[in-house]
């Protein structure tokens, strides 16, 4: 389960990626942040951001809140 949830539903890319990029440095290393984002571009851009920033993309999940992306702060 994620340690916290970032609700970016209704936001268009790149806004969910920007929200994740703002939040990740504020959480302790090892924390999993779940980004809720219904813009289809998030499915591509959140994993791509993790790759570019060396953060861990844990998984894409579709739950009751719609599409979600789990990121673990790796460094």
């Amino acid at each position: 389960m994620p340690d916290e949830v970032l609700d970016c539903r209704g936001q268009r890319c790149p806004l969910p990626v920007i929200a994740a990029a703002r939040r990740m440095p504020q959480v302790p290393v090892g924390t999993v942040v779940r980004v809720l984002a219904d813009d289809p571009a998030a499915a591509v851009d959140i994993p791509a951001w993790c790759r570019m920033r060396g953060q861990e993309f844990v998984a894409a999940i579709t739950g009751p809140d719609g599409p979600a992306y789990d990121i673990r702060r790796a460094h």
Binding site: R12, P14, V17, A21, R22, D39, A41, A43, V44
Partner: protein, 383 residues
């Protein structure tokens, strides 16, 4: 402040070649009659159509009777897919295609699936290159009627391993359709295909002319209502003046192709290197070596694609984008998605015969400031 226009979207439509303009004007006077009729004016039109077909077939390396002119590249792609599937419906219902085909091919595939057929997309790697192992497995599966592979990606420029893919198809007895829209008139065509399509406005011909070549012996059946024109492969009167202009400009483009490749490929190398070095947090995508000579794509982190296109346009630069906010469907480009690369802040730059080194230099000089300005506005600097 106004800026002189720099058009960098040849992959959508290249500016018309001067030869196309001359041929179009001449053919408007001479080529308006129906080439199928039996009077003097019709015979003149028939001569023009035959000469256009002969010249174009020669450039493509096909026989004249294997080539049809269609009303667009899209129509040609639709016909190639649906006709290839119809011709082999007794073999099976499956279309194998790369995940990065042009939307015209994918829309034809959707039509096929809606009618009860099967479409099996084959993935690409991070550089946008076809997974040949997955392709081989897909093509060798039972019930495959047709395989479709773009010669080189229209969005990221990566050249596809068509020769290897074609060898697998030949071994499996599956005809291969290649969408050569970005290759015809620019680079040598691969061998081993059964059906090929192209589009005149990509090489400097007029819009509204497509090419559909079907090799002798290919089991291809027109998916359209019957019509005897253009070898029965595509219905309706051809736009003869535009066809004549397309043929003349293709011949001219083919003559210059190798010199243009030598001139443009280093300019694309320069864009790839300088954008990566001078714009922070940018991902230059596509294969750096096995690529088209005229096309380069990159994505700028945290930048809105639509805002970037508008900012570039205000400075006189016309480019294209695969970002979702720039598409009518609000979905990111399926090509960038299949590659798993950043899709927002995406820009595709494509060069043509009128593009100068100075145009490229001005673009490279202005781009970093434009991206920095948009990031400052959005408050994302330092993220």
């Amino acid at each position: 402040m106004s800026a002189s226009p720099v058009y960098l979207d040849a992959a959508t439509a290249a500016p018309m070649h001067p030869v196309a303009r001359q041929a179009l004007l001449a053919a408007l006077d001479d080529g308006w009659a129906d080439p199928g009729k039996l009077y003097t004016q019709a015979r003149r039109a028939r001569q023009l159509l035959d000469a256009a077909r002969e010249a174009t077939a020669q450039t493509l390396g096909v026989r004249a009777d294997e080539l049809s002119f269609t009303s667009s590249g899209t129509t040609a792609a639709h016909g190639a897919v649906l006709g290839g599937l119809a011709g082999r419906r007794r073999v099976g219902p499956t279309l194998v295609h790369s995940a990065i085909e042009h939307s015209a091919v994918l829309h034809a595939a959707e039509r096929h699936v809606a009618a009860g057929g099967v479409a099996n997309p084959v993935p690409v790697d991070r550089l946008g290159r076809l997974d040949l192992t997955a392709w081989s497995d897909a093509v060798r599966a039972p019930g495959v009627a047709l395989a479709a592979l773009i010669t080189a990606s229209h969005e990221v420029g990566t050249v596809q391993p068509v020769a290897e893919a074609a060898a697998t198809c030949a071994d499996a007895g599956v005809p291969l359709y290649v969408d050569a829209a970005q290759s015809v008139g620019r680079v040598p065509l691969p061998a081993g295909w059964s059906v090929l399509t192209a589009s005149a406005h990509k090489w400097g011909g007029p819009p509204g002319v497509g090419l559909l070549a079907v090799r002798k012996g290919t089991r291809w059946e027109s998916p359209w209502p019957a019509d005897e024109r253009e070898g029965g492969r595509t219905p309706g009167s051809v736009n003869l003046p535009a066809v004549v202009a397309a043929a003349a400009s293709l011949r001219a483009a083919a003559v210059d192709a190798s010199a243009e490749e030598t001139r443009l490929a280093p300019l694309v190398d320069r864009i790839r290197a300088r954008v990566a070095a001078e714009v922070p947090d940018v991902e230059v995508v596509g294969d750096p070596v096995l690529r088209l000579p005229h096309l380069v794509t990159f994505s700028c982190l945290y930048v809105d694609g639509e805002a970037l296109l508008h900012a570039l346009d205000r400075r006189g630069f016309a480019v294209s984008s695969g970002s979702s906010c720039t598409s009518s469907t609000l979905r990111p480009s399926h090509v960038l998605e299949a590659m798993g690369v950043l899709s927002h802040g995406n820009v595709r730059v494509s060069l043509h015969r009128e593009t100068t080194e100075a145009d490229v230099e001005r673009f490279l000089a202005e781009l970093p400031g434009i991206v920095a300005g948009l990031r400052a506005e959005a408050g994302v600097v330092g993220l």
